[in-house]
């Protein structure tokens, strides 16, 4: 099942079984969504449940916040994470605060969906990964999904929550075909161990998870380095328990993410692991991340600016050699 179809399935399921669920965003209705995630839902549920909005991101999220306060369960779509900057007042000043400031009296069952990441030559202003901005705000839940199974279950879980959730997707994953199966009792707050290993714990999320899986296969086949790959579905809160458990076993940590290295999510993960497990570490944690540049348009430069399976492979090999693996 395509990633986008899994998201569509989750939205349709929610619309079908809960009359309070509404979708809103730019072109989510008649056009079916810029990335075709909401395709067919407008025809089925009509303009009152699937609402086309003007190009006004702050208003989209603001409207959704109001809807949620008054008892609906809105799912707002921002066309890409880059445009969410225009909605930062609502996302930072309203969404995370209202539950706390009302002493828990106001419920905010709200999901704001948005894709992010480097696609193919969309230019600096359309290629950013901004998860670290959102994941640093108390009061927000930041969830994401790396394949069809997680896309369906995490999004559905997010819609059913009574708290505000920011749901991140990756532009390049929409057209990827993944195996799909419905699961019982899926918990997005528990990180998934997608590959067991004994030498290195590699933490990743969204599209980078797939690059890491590919690199770990090469590492195993060519270098005999066995990686344990952890896929985060929740970026706030992060499931440190699973990460600690794995690092206690492997004694080594690598975090791979697409955003620039400085102050990214990997900084937090490696700092926490260093705080908690310092005496169990056999090497300094390694971050493999994007370069400190706005993403270039030129395809070759664009690929140079972000981690690829080849870079993940090479950097883990080099780091291993430097630090006695």
């Amino acid at each position: 099942m395509l990633y986008r179809d899994a998201l569509n399935l989750a939205l349709e399921h929610a619309l079908e079984h809960d009359h309070r669920v509404v979708l809103l965003g730019e072109d989510v209705g008649f056009y079916g969504g810029n990335y075709k995630v909401t395709e067919g839902l407008y025809a089925k549920y009509g303009p009152k449940r699937v609402i086309d909005t003007p190009i006004a991101e702050n208003s989209i999220v603001g409207t959704a916040v109001g809807m949620a306060m008054m008892g609906l369960r809105p799912v707002a779509e921002i066309m890409t994470a880059n445009f969410s900057m225009l909605a930062m007042d609502q996302i930072v000043n309203q969404m995370p605060k209202l539950r706390y400031m009302s002493g828990g009296k106001v419920f905010l069952p709200l999901v704001v969906r948005m894709p992010q990441g480097v696609a193919k030559q969309l230019g600096s202003q359309h290629s950013q990964s901004l998860e670290h901005l959102f994941a640093s705000i108390p009061g927000l839940y930041v969830l994401c999904a790396s394949d069809a199974v997680s896309a369906y279950h995490v999004l559905l879980y997010a819609i059913r929550m009574d708290d505000p959730v920011l749901f991140l997707e990756h532009v390049l994953l929409y057209g990827v075909d993944f195996p799909f199966e419905p699961l019982e009792g899926f918990d997005p707050f528990r990180a998934r161990i997608l590959r067991e290993g004994r030498d290195v714990t590699v933490v990743s999320y969204l599209k980078m998870t797939h690059d890491v899986l590919k690199a770990s296969q090469w590492l195993e086949e060519r270098e005999g380095i066995s990686c344990e790959v952890i896929d985060l579905l929740s970026l706030r809160p992060i499931d440190f328990e699973t990460i600690y458990g794995s690092v206690k076993k492997t004694k080594r940590l690598v975090v791979v993410y697409e955003a620039p290295k400085t102050l990214g999510l990997g900084a937090e993960v490696s700092a926490r692991v260093s705080e908690e497990l310092f005496y169990f570490l056999d090497a300094p944690p390694l971050r493999i991340a994007g370069e400190e540049v706005p993403i270039p348009y030129n395809r070759k430069l664009e690929l140079m600016a972000i981690p690829t399976p080849e870079k993940v492979y090479a950097q883990i090999v080099q780091w291993g050699r430097r630090h006695g693996l």
Binding site: K251, Y279, M304, E310, H323
Partner: protein, 415 residues
């Protein structure tokens, strides 16, 4: 675009192949038809020839690795031989990094020069190495001053030292076989060097199982037998009077039976058949497989056109095939094409047994021990889809008569 060399399918039943040996290395120029690698599959070793000419750019699969049929195992840059001008001996890593390949390919940014290991004055160690050393009672700093540990020391260095200090080399090998952790043993058997005998005694006391990997030959045997065992089959048991057969050390009973069965097959076309769902493929000649144990493995190479060959020729061929099997050099050609196989366990004093038909064949004949009167129990297993009971019975009857036909036996002996 690079040309992908795929794992070929050498036979209908082949699903995975193992790269036994690369005969070319990265950067070699390959002519069309040149052998690039040796592939092991279905118990045989085959040569992989190149269909194209060009530069062998990258090897994706290391020796000994198993790969499903159709998966790329190497990349080639097609074209004529280009002199060294375009390819400096070691392209700088930076230049390679600059052109990351499409995502679907194998890693290209291979560090050409291993980066330097971090080096510090003695006294440094990773936190975990320190923990480990403390647990094991090692004085890290002293060992570093003596030069027996690097600085900074990592877990691997400490573990290596522990192994060296507490284990003999033989014992270390055994550790792997029994999947034991060195630290556990040092804790269990403190304050002494652990040699082979100590380790074996420990293993016996604790009842720890040994790990014996399944060989690729056995894997292919298992997969084929599992497929053929579920096919509809039946047995015919019969006692044969083999007293007329004058076998000796050079031409054994097995050799005789190959010849006699091969001749008998000429009268029964269904025993020379391959089942193809809608039709049978009937071969003109009798191709008889012989089951032979070589070390731990079972092979069943095929003697082709038995009906046209003499006893001595057959005996010679069986011996040659056995030798090849021992050297692991049986070709697929030599393992394929049989429709019937003979398995003889009589020499071990086995009175009677039945066997599983090799996948794709029609019949297997299980020969038991000859008693003092020359009688032997023989079990026939037939594929019911090809040979019905009636034909099976006729074939067995025909064979029974043949082994008693003195003129025929005398004739065979002369040829």
């Amino acid at each position: 675009m690079d040309y992908e060399i795929l794992m070929p399918q050498f036979s209908d039943t082949m699903e995975v192949g193992r790269v036994a040996r690369w005969l070319k290395k990265e950067g070699d120029f390959v002519e069309r038809g040149e052998v690039i690698a040796e592939i092991e599959a279905e118990k045989a070793v085959m040569e992989l020839q190149s269909f194209k000419r060009g530069l062998l750019k990258r090897i994706l699969v290391r020796e000994g690795q198993e790969v499903p049929v159709g998966r790329p195992i190497a990349l080639m840059e097609l074209g004529e031989r280009i002199e060294e001008v375009r390819r400096p001996t070691a392209p700088p890593t930076e230049e390679r990094k600059a052109v990351p390949p499409p995502i679907e390919e194998a890693p290209k940014v291979v560090p050409t020069k291993p980066p330097e290991r971090v080096e510090l004055p003695s006294g440094f160690a990773s936190p975990y190495a320190r923990l480990l050393a403390k647990e094991m009672g090692l004085e890290l700093e002293e060992l570093q001053k003596e030069g027996r540990l690097p600085s900074p020391a990592h877990a691997k260095d400490v573990e290596g030292l522990l192994r060296e200090r507490y284990f003999t080399p033989k014992a270390l090998e055994l550790l792997k076989e029994y999947e034991l952790r060195a630290e556990d043993l040092i804790r269990a058997l403190p304050d002494r060097k652990i040699d082979e005998d100590t380790l074996l005694a420990y293993v016996e006391r604790e009842g720890i199982p040994k790990r014996l990997p399944v060989s690729s030959v056995q894997k292919s045997l298992i997969s084929n037998l599992s497929k053929s065992f579920v096919l509809p089959h039946y047995h015919i048991y019969e006692v044969f009077d083999l007293s007329q057969i004058p076998w000796d050390k050079d031409i054994t009973l097995t050799h005789w039976l190959i010849k006699i069965v091969g001749d008998a097959m000429q009268f029964f076309e269904r025993l020379r058949a391959l089942f193809k769902e809608d039709y049978y493929l009937l071969y003109p000649h009798s191709n008889v497989g012989v089951a032979m144990a070589v070390g731990e493995e079972l092979y069943a190479p095929v003697i082709k056109e038995v009906n046209r060959k003499g006893l001595k020729e057959i005996a010679q061929e069986v011996r040659e095939l056995k030798k090849k099997a021992e050297e692991g050099r049986l070709s697929l050609e030599e393992l394929q094409g049989g429709t019937l196989t003979i398995s003889n366990l009589g020499m071990f004093g086995i009175r009677s047994f039945d066997a599983v038909i090799p996948y794709g064949q029609v019949c297997i004949i299980a020969v038991g021990m000859q008693d003092e009167k020359g009688m032997a129990h023989i079990t026939f297993t037939f594929d019911h889809r090809v040979v019905n009971g009636f034909h099976g019975a006729l074939f067995v009857k025909h064979l029974k008569e043949k082994v008693l036909d003195r003129n025929y036996i005398r004739f065979l002996k002369k040829v």
